[in-house]
C-alpha cells in the first residue's frame, strides 16, 4: 500500500515523475493505457489554455471575477482520472481540469464565471455538484452522498476537493470524522497550493503535513507531489479501489502551487516573492508530463503546437457563444427556489414583470 510506504508522519512524499519528466522509480508507475494517458494530457492542456483565456477575458472586462487554475492541473487531472462515470465528484471551486474530464462542457464552465447559474446545471449523466463557495462546507455533502451509497449498496465512490485553507475549517473536521466513523467510500483530495488568498500554509496549521491529519481520524493519508500527475493518479487510484472495496475513506494531500492569483481581484505580489513563483514555474506539471509523453513517443512538440491552436480556437468560439447567449431570462431568477413557486413569490414576480413591461418606469 502506498499509504503504508509513504506514511505522512514520517514526512515522506510520493513522487514518480521528476521535474524533467523522468521516472524516479519504475515500480511505482501506475498502469494507465496510452490512450488514457494522452486523454489526461489533453485535458490538462485544455485546462491551461481555457484558464489563461478566461483570465484574459476577465481583464478585458468580458468576464466576472475568476479563480485561475494555472499550476494545479496535475492535482486535478491525476485525481479525477482515477474515478469512473458512476462515481461522484464534489468540487470546491478551483478544479477546472477535473470538471472538464468529468464531462462538464467548457461552455458551462465559462457560463458560470460569466455570471449565469445555468453554468451549474450539468448534464444528467455528470454526477458532480455545483461549485461550493463557503470553504470546506461541501465536504460533508460528499460524506452524505457516500453514506447513501453505502445504505443503498451501490458501488460508487465520491471524490471531494478542498484546499489547504479549508483544512482549518471546523466543517473539515466534522466531515472527515463522519466519513471515518461511517467508513464511507470517499476520497478527499486537498489541493495544497500553499496560500489561502494571502495567508501561507504555515498559518493554517502547525501540523507538518496536511496528510497527517488523517492519522487522528483513523484513516489512511498520504502526501503526494501534486505537480506530478502520475503520483496523484497512483495515490488516488489506490484510495478509490480501497473505498470501492469497502475499505473506507482516504485523505490525500497534493502539494502544488497556484502560479496565478487567488482570483482576478487579488494581487499576489503583495504576499509572495517572484523568486518563489519562479521556482515553482520550474516544476510546471504540464511541461513535466509533456516531456514524459514525448520521451515515450506518445506525443511530439509538433502535435502539441497543433493541439494548442485547436484548443485556443475552441476556447474563443465557446466564449463567444457564451457572450451571445449567456443572458439570464428573468423567470430563471425566481423559479428555481422551490419545485413550485409559492404564491407570495409569484406575486412579487408578476408585479416586477408588469413594471418591466412598462419599460421599468
Amino acid at each position: 500500500m502506498l499509504t503504508d510506504k509513504y506514511n505522512p508522519l514520517e514526512n515522506t512524499m510520493l513522487c514518480i515523475l521528476d521535474k524533467d519528466g523522468k521516472i524516479i522509480d519504475e515500480e511505482l508507475l501506475p498502469k494507465i493505457e496510452d490512450k488514457k494517458m494522452l486523454e489526461i494530457y489533453k485535458v490538462m492542456l485544455l485546462t491551461r489554455i481555457a484558464d489563461t483565456k478566461a483570465l484574459q477575458y476577465q481583464r478585458q472586462g468580458r468576464m466576472l471575477t475568476y479563480a485561475p487554475n494555472k499550476g494545479q492541473e496535475a492535482a486535478q487531472l491525476g485525481s479525477v482520472a482515477a474515478v469512473e462515470e458512476r462515481d461522484w465528484l464534489v468540487p470546491a471551486f478551483r478544479e477546472m481540469g477535473a470538471w472538464l474530464y468529468k464531462g462538464v462542457p467548457l461552455e458551462q464552465i465559462y457560463l458560470y464565471w460569466y455570471g449565469n447559474e445555468m453554468g451549474s446545471k450539468f448534464p444528467e449523466n455528470v454526477k458532480m455538484l455545483p461549485i461550493s463557495v463557503p470553504i470546506a462546507s461541501q465536504l460533508s455533502h460528499g460524506v452524505g452522498i457516500a453514506m447513501a451509497s453505502n445504505i443503498k449498496g451501490e458501488e460508487e465512490v465520491t471524490l471531494a476537493y478542498v484546499g489547504d485553507g479549508g483544512t482549518s475549517q471546523g466543517e473539515f473536521h466534522e466531515a472527515m470524522n463522519f466519513a471515518a466513523v461511517y467508513n464511507v467510500p470517499l476520497v478527499v483530495v486537498i489541493q495544497n497550493n500553499q496560500y489561502a488568498i494571502s495567508v501561507p500554509r504555515e498559518i493554517q496549521t502547525k501540523s507538518r503535513t496536511l496528510a497527517e491529519k488523517a492519522v487522528a481520524y483513523g484513516i489512511p493519508g498520504i502526501q503526494v507531489d501534486g505537480n506530478d500527475v502520475l503520483a496523484v493518479y497512483a495515490a488516488v487510484k489506490e484510495a478509490v479501489d480501497r473505498a470501492r472495496g469497502g475499505g473506507g475513506p482516504t485523505l490525500i494531500e497534493a502539494v502544488t502551487y497556484r502560479l496565478g492569483p487567488h482570483t482576478t481581484s487579488d494581487d499576489p505580489t503583495i504576499y509572495r516573492e517572484d523568486k518563489e513563483v519562479e521556482e515553482w514555474t520550474q516544476k510546471d506539471p504540464l511541461i513535466r508530463f509533456k516531456k514524459y509523453l514525448i520521451d515515450k513517443k506518445l506525443w511530439s512538440e509538433e502535435k502539441d503546437i497543433k493541439q494548442r491552436e485547436e484548443f485556443e480556437n475552441l476556447a474563443n468560439e465557446t466564449f463567444k457563444k457564451v457572450e451571445t447567449s449567456g443572458e439570464v431570462p428573468l423567470e430563471d431568477i425566481f423559479k428555481y427556489h422551490y419545485e413550485e413557486m409559492p404564491k407570495n413569490l409569484i406575486e412579487q414576480y408578476e408585479e416586477y414583470k408588469e413594471y418591466m413591461k412598462k419599460g421599468g418606469i
Binding site: P134, V143, A146, E171
Partner: protein
Amino acid sequence: MAVLNILNAVNHTLDYEMEKNKNVIVYGEDVGLEGGVFRATTGLQKKYGRDRCFDTPLAEAGIVGTAIGMAINGLVPVVEIQFSGFVLPALNQIIAHAARMRNRSRGKYNLPMVIRMPYGGGIRALEHHSESLEAVFGHIPGLKTVIPSTPYDTKGLLLSAIREPDPVIFLEPKQIYRAFKQEVPEGDYSIPIGKAKVIKEGKDVTVVAYGALIHEVQKAVKELENEGISVELIDLRTISPIDRDTIIKSVQKTGRFVVVHEAVKSFSVSSELISIVNEGAFLYLEAPPTRVTGFDIIVPLPKGENHFIIDSKRIFNKIKEVVSF
C-alpha cells in the same frame, strides 16, 4: 384511531413513513439506541435497523451537511437537531447550502429533507434550550418552515414535510410535547404546507398564533367570548411560505388584528404579519394592528423565565385593548 400526544405523533409519523418509503432515513444525536433525548425516535432503530435510524457524532453541521448529500443521492433524510438552540453551527449548511442547492444547480439537485427540532421555552431548562428561531428560518429563500400545535397537525404536517421535494424546517413546540392527547388517524393524511387554519370563526378581531401559544390564546378567547367579544382565531401552522390570503381575508372581515408569539418582538413573524395586514387590509382596520410577543431579550434561565413566557392573561388584556380602541 390512536390517542397520541405530540411526541407520540412525531414517533408514529416517522414510523409510518419509514415503513412506507425505504428511502426515509432518520438520524441525529442520541436518536438511534436511546430514541432521542425526548424519545421522539424510540423504537425506530430496533424496527428498521442501524442503516435507517442511527446515532451521529456530536456535530450539527455534520448532521445537516451529510443530510444534504444523502438527499442529493436519492434518500430522504429526516434529521433531528436536539434543541433548536443548538442549530447554530448548522446554519451554514442550512442557509448556505440546503436552501440553495436547487437554485444553484438550476433544478438538477433538489433536496427532499426535513430538519426536525424542538423549540421554545417554558420547560425550565438551561441556556440555549428555549429559543424560538422561526424568524431566522422564515427569512431564508429556499426553505419552508412549519410549526404544528396539536398531535393531529403534527402527523399531517410532518407527512407533508417528508414528502416535500424541498427542505423543510420542522419546529416542534416542546413545551406541549406531552401536554395533551388527541385522536390521530392511523392512516394516510396530510396537511398542506403554506396554509393557515381558521380554528374558530369570529367577527370582532383576528388573532393569529402558532405552536404552544395557541393553547394560551384559546384560554383567553374563551374568557373574551364570555364578555361577548367574538374572536377569529387562526393557527398559522406554516411560517414560510406564509399564508397571506387567509390573514388578509380575516382582517378584512374583523377590522382588528393581534398576533401572538413567544419569539422576540423585533424583526419577527409578527413584524411580517403586521406588514401583510397593512399591505392587504389597511383600509379595513378599525384599530392599529398589534402583538403580544417575547421581549427583545435572551430567554432568561428558569428563575426569570416566567416573565418571558406569555400567559393567557396578557393575551386577554391585549385583545381587549384592541377591541375597545
